[in-house]
Amino acid sequence: MISPHPIFSLVGILLVVLGIASGLIWLERRLLALWQDRYGPNRVGPFGLLQVLADMIKIFAKEDWVPPFATSKVIFVLAPAVIILTVLMSFTVIPVAPGIVISDLNIGLLFFLAMSSLGVYSIVLAGWASNNKYSLLGGLRAAAQMLSYEVFMGLSLMGVVLLAGTFRLSGIVAAQRRLWFVVPQFLGFLLFLIAGLAETRRLPFDLPEAESELVAGFHSEYSGMKFGMFFVGEYIGITLISAMIAILFFGGWRGPLLPPLVWFLLKVFVFLGFFILMRASLPRPRFDQLMAWAWKLMLPLALGNLLVTGAVVLAMHG
């Protein structure tokens, strides 16, 4: 097995992730259009592929405005950077193929959880620094939502850790040699999927930026590339969650015939498509329903899943 120098992995993964994130903007608009029975962007370049480029030029030409009434201008400017930083940091522990990983930490899974819990700061601080009641409400909602869903996101993954016996992500992939973890951990998979949706604030869990009630929520005051950073952060976020689902529950890069990298990308894109389908098909819940759902249904389910998995593992090994 030839493993490239970490620097090459780093540059390669960074470029691919940013490429996927910008390509996703096009993919999402086209897929949404397909499911809503319309065309979507199809004018710029072949299949409208250059639409992303056009949007990018446009967004750079926009006025980059910092509200004069902002609570703290420094925090207002820093907030969009935090989300990009934390999400990209998570990619350092993602093994995309045998040997291709930037840092194969033995606490890889915990590192991912840590970074995703730090991502909340971006949204909360953006809402707070904007000094606008809609932004503040969006920030408050984001804080409550992401804290609640983080709790059982971690718990839903502990079943996988029990089965694999390690937090190291490449070890978890190796442990799925015979059977993908989605089979014994189907409940854990569903819980993680929902937590991942909530964590990336995608529809149906996009209450922090619910247009119909909060203008644009936490990023109401943002314009130009600062707004673009939140946007790109969200897309990198769903790429990250898709990659995590592929690694934790669907055997990572494992698969017959095709090379490992192709399998990994294939799996990631299936879940990206699924995330977009969710956006196209589900309505938003009310905020109190969202919180009740997290604490009264998902948390007990995650705890029960952990208990049963632990008992089974103990019975099989003890």
């Binding site: 915990l110 959880l113 819990s117 909360v124 804080a143 109190d288 009740a292």
Partner: protein, 197 residues
């Protein structure tokens, strides 16, 4: 651990903690506290305790400080709070604690310079597995006791957060006998949640 990395993280931790104490704006103080926790986490990581380093970020920086910020944001403390803080802490009130802390610092520096340089701590990383085995082996009693404590805290918080019926019940068959326990102040109207769960 790389000495430069350690001293950098240590200086950041100390400076951020000082700024967190001295700051007048609550949210900025909390942010400095979060930075300090991150720096401490780097020190843990460098000294071969990656598990504790990760938990430090997940639990303290990622959850508890966010909760604090959440509360501060809800209270919406503005300039008036900063002014109140200023009145609460006039400069002369710092004198006493500063003298005591300086004495302690002198004592610590004296002791540190007197003691022979200890052998570098073992650099073997403590794996999550080792932490688990230690917690549920020799320290099981401690784990159980702290879980009892946490349970008591949970029950206490539940009791404090419980809102009793403050107004007569509306006879529309929709509202429940009592409002749901607190925690979610963003609920769009107290009684609407009854049908949600």
């Amino acid at each position: 651990m790389n000495a430069l990395a350690f001293y950098l993280a240590a200086v950041i931790a100390v400076a951020a903690t000082l700024l967190a104490i001295a700051g007048k704006n609550a949210v900025q103080s909390l942010l400095y506290l979060a930075v300090s926790l991150l720096a401490v986490s780097i020190i843990f990581f460098g000294y071969g305790a990656p598990f504790i380093a990760a938990l430090e970020v997940i639990i303290y920086a990622g959850s508890i400080i966010v909760l604090f910020i959440f509360v501060v944001m809800m209270l919406n403390l503005g300039r008036r709070a900063a002014q109140a803080e200023e009145q609460l802490l006039p400069p002369h009130i710092w004198i006493g604690p500063a003298i005591l802390a300086a004495l302690l610092a002198v004592e610590m520096i004296y002791l540190a310079s007197m003691a022979a340089p200890a052998a570098a701590p073992a650099q073997a990383a403590v794996s999550p597995r080792a932490v688990g085995l230690a917690l549920y082996g020799p320290y099981l009693l401690g784990v159980e006791l702290s879980s009892m404590l946490l349970l008591a805290a949970l029950v206490g918080a539940y009791h404090l957060g419980w809102r009793r019926q403050a107004f007569p019940e509306v006879k529309d068959g929709e509202s429940s006998s009592s409002a749901a326990p607190g925690g979610d102040s963003l609920r769009a109207g107290g009684r609407r949640s009854a049908g949600a769960a």
